[in-house]
């Protein structure tokens, strides 16, 4: 799609891609808002960790990925899962712990996985998936496949041992893996600055692994997209891993249980001014995209969310039989004869 009659300067990204970046962000935004509503109605079960405010990171990376690239996410993984094209209904179904969920309710919101889309799992133990992403990248290197493994995690995750082991390992083995730190300024309730020896928990550690120090505006999908493309190109060229710190902010609490009272007054408001959706709407306008095109995406997304909600509400709960399936590769759970 091109904004008709408007020659655009400085458009290394291209309008088709920009529209996709916008669409993905809106889809995440609307989905997450709905997930929150459904939680209030007690229809989303267990816990759930929203990415409201962090959509540009997920969109920027996912749109830069190719089919076959692998994503490794955390419990805060709805956004990254949707961004890879996983059906909204399946994601929402999992949050609602229905039989139509991505994992039929067996995993729950913290473990979203869709291997067919390259979403190799969402991991709920802090740091565990960084080494796992290394392994996936090692496989690609070993088999001569050219996919990239992309690993998303938060600022707080940079202080756990597995972070350090994975970074060193990836560099020594020159693996095609990209480590993406979403610095949203907080762990659960504690500001990252209170517990970290350096200002930028990821970027200020890059040199400890001989890596470039990369910080990007995580609320600007274009900026994220560009940095992702560069890192992927480097990885595919056999030049090893990258570590990227995206500065962003979550608009909601850490999880469904958290009203986020620990924030200093005004902080949220400041960040809302730089809301990634708002930023991107303006960007599209600057590039001359007609409002109608933007509205169309908004409208389609609303309908999608609506349809997914209805489908999930109507979906059955998981049947009891699956409780004991897929513990072992034979499909069952027998530990004895």
């Amino acid at each position: 799609m091109n904004a008709p009659g408007k020659p655009v300067k400085n458009d290394d990204i291209g309008l088709d891609t920009r529209m996709e970046l916008y669409r993905v962000q809106v889809e995440i935004r609307d989905f997450e808002k709905r997930a929150f509503d459904l939680f209030l109605q007690n229809l989303v079960k267990g816990t759930s960790h929203l990415s409201l405010g962090q959509e540009a990171v997920a969109a920027g990376f996912a749109v830069a990925m190719k089919p076959g690239d692998k994503s490794f996410c955390t419990y805060r993984g709805h956004a990254h899962t949707l961004a890879r094209g996983v059906e909204m209904e399946k994601v929402l179904g999992e949050l609602m712990q229905r039989d139509n969920g991505l994992m039929r309710g067996k995993g729950g919101s913290m473990h979203l996985t869709s291997v067919e889309h390259g979403v190799m799992g969402s991991y709920a133990i802090i740091g565990a998936h960084l080494p796992i992403a290394c392994g996936s990248a090692w496989r690609a290197q070993y088999l001569g496949q050219d996919d990239v493994s992309v690993c998303f995690f938060g600022d707080g995750t940079t202080n756990i041992g597995a972070f350090h082991e994975a970074l060193n390992f990836a560099v020594v083995w020159k693996l095609p893996v990209v480590f993406v730190c979403e610095n949203n300024l907080y762990m659960e309730y504690t500001p990252i600055g209170d517990v970290t020896a350096v200002e930028h928990p990821a970027a200020d550690r890059a040199s400890a692994y001989g890596l470039e120090r990369i910080i990007v505006d995580g609320n600007d999908a274009d900026a994220v997209y560009r940095v992702a493309q560069a890192a992927f190109a480097k990885a595919r060229a056999g030049e090893g891993p990258s570590l990227i710190e995206c500065m962003t902010y979550r608009h909601s609490g850490h999880s469904r249980a958290d009203p986020a009272k620990y924030r200093p007054p005004g902080e949220l408001e400041e960040w809302m001014k730089r809301d990634p959706i708002k930023v991107y709407k303006q960007r599209l306008a600057d590039f001359g995209v007609p409002q109608a095109d933007v509205d169309a995406i908004d409208q389609q997304t609303k309908e999608k969310v609506e349809a997914a909600t209805e489908a999930c509400k109507a979906a059955p709960i998981p049947p009891v039989e699956i409780m004991t399936t897929d513990v072992y590769a034979d499909g069952g759970w027998a530990w004895r004869n």
Binding site: Q97, G108, E188, P318
Partner: protein, 326 residues
């Protein structure tokens, strides 16, 4: 005498000991300013200040290592590991450091610390945030292992654990945090290594722990009412030291032994108790020893599935009834 939640009993127990002993300090993730993600430590930061109640980075190895180093040199730290599943990321301290230092150094080094952790299922959190892992600690020589089922026991056993000269792993059950119970005013200090007969009975002994205690009690009521079976229910409370006297004493009386374990089947604490009974009380047994456990599977997230994997009062009662042939 006040009614207290199990959650508030945690803060009460810690506060009692921090007031008494300046060397008691407390560290963990989000435990101080935020009062803990389960809100079990609300008010401690305000009362004791940031020098004694400290937020840490997400560095479980540093948390437990720091607790150990402080304990070795004179403090009595309490460390929180938010979910017991996360003991796996700092397991070296649990398995190789805390419990072996005294022995390896021929008694030169002490390690008086408490690791508090949220254990157990019921929150629909899925396989990595719902496990019952008390056997991970029980199997390690040199640790003490405690798991209370009531607010009163939380206070008393927490105090006893903090005062203990050995490392104690203290399992708080997440699904019990909201439950309530009477807790007398004033100082409460219990004793490790004492099981409690929470319901006397003569036909069968049911041994349970933590969340399984109220369920075993409900099962016993059902057995009494529906089948006239009078079951004795024992709350183990402390896995190490293990009060085998109370358990075997009950078994000798009833002739029948059942364990109700939330942990998955293999190598659970019930297996240990069963093996002790099958050796030492073989001739007192009137029939098979039966373990009622969570099946040996990872835990599912979905509420309807999670509800059926854990032993329920109905399942417990049915299993006891069937085994007794009633």
């Amino acid at each position: 005498m006040a009614e207290l939640t199990y959650r508030d009993a945690v803060a009460r127990g810690i506060a009692q000991e921090m007031r008494r002993d300046e060397n008691v300090v407390f560290l963990g993730e989000d435990v101080a300013k935020a009062g803990g993600v389960f809100k079990a430590t609300v008010g401690l930061y305000e009362e004791f200040g940031g020098k004694r109640v400290r937020d840490t980075p997400i560095s479980e190895q540093a948390i437990l290592g720091a607790a150990m180093g402080a304990a070795m040199t004179g403090l009595r730290p309490i460390a929180e590991i938010m979910f017991s599943d996360f003991l796996a990321v700092c397991f070296d301290y649990i398995a190789n450091e805390f419990p072996k230092s005294r022995y390896m150094t021929n008694g030169q080094v002490k390690c008086p610390l408490v690791v508090r952790t949220g254990n157990g299922a019921g929150s629909r959190f899925g396989a990595q945030h719902s496990q019952s892992v008390e056997n991970w600690a029980m199997m390690i020589p040199g640790l003490k292992v405690v798991a209370p089922s009531t607010p009163l026991d939380v206070v008393g056993l927490l105090a006893a654990s903090i005062r203990d000269e050995d490392p104690v792993i203290f399992f708080e059950h997440k699904s019990l945090y909201a439950t309530k119970g009477e807790v007398p005013d004033g100082e409460i200090v219990d004793q490790l290594g004492k099981a409690k007969i929470v319901r006397p009975g003569k036909d069968a002994t049911i041994v349970a722990l933590a969340l399984m205690v109220p369920r075993a009690l409900a099962a016993a009521e059902k057995l009494q009412k529906e089948f006239g079976i009078d079951a004795e229910v024992i709350d183990v409370r402390s896995l190490v030291p293990l009060d085998t006297q109370t358990i075997l004493g009950s078994l000798v009386k009833t002739g029948r032994l059942f364990t109700v374990e939330e942990n998955p089947r293999l190598c659970g604490w019930g297996a240990e108790i069963a093996s002790i009974a099958a050796d030492e009380c073989f001739w007192d047994l009137d029939g098979p020893i039966v373990r009622i456990t969570t099946p040996h599977i990872p835990l599912p997230a979905a509420d309807n599935l999670e509800d059926i994997v854990l032993p329920t009062p109905d399942r417990i009662a049915e299993r006891v009834r069937r085994t007794l042939g009633a």
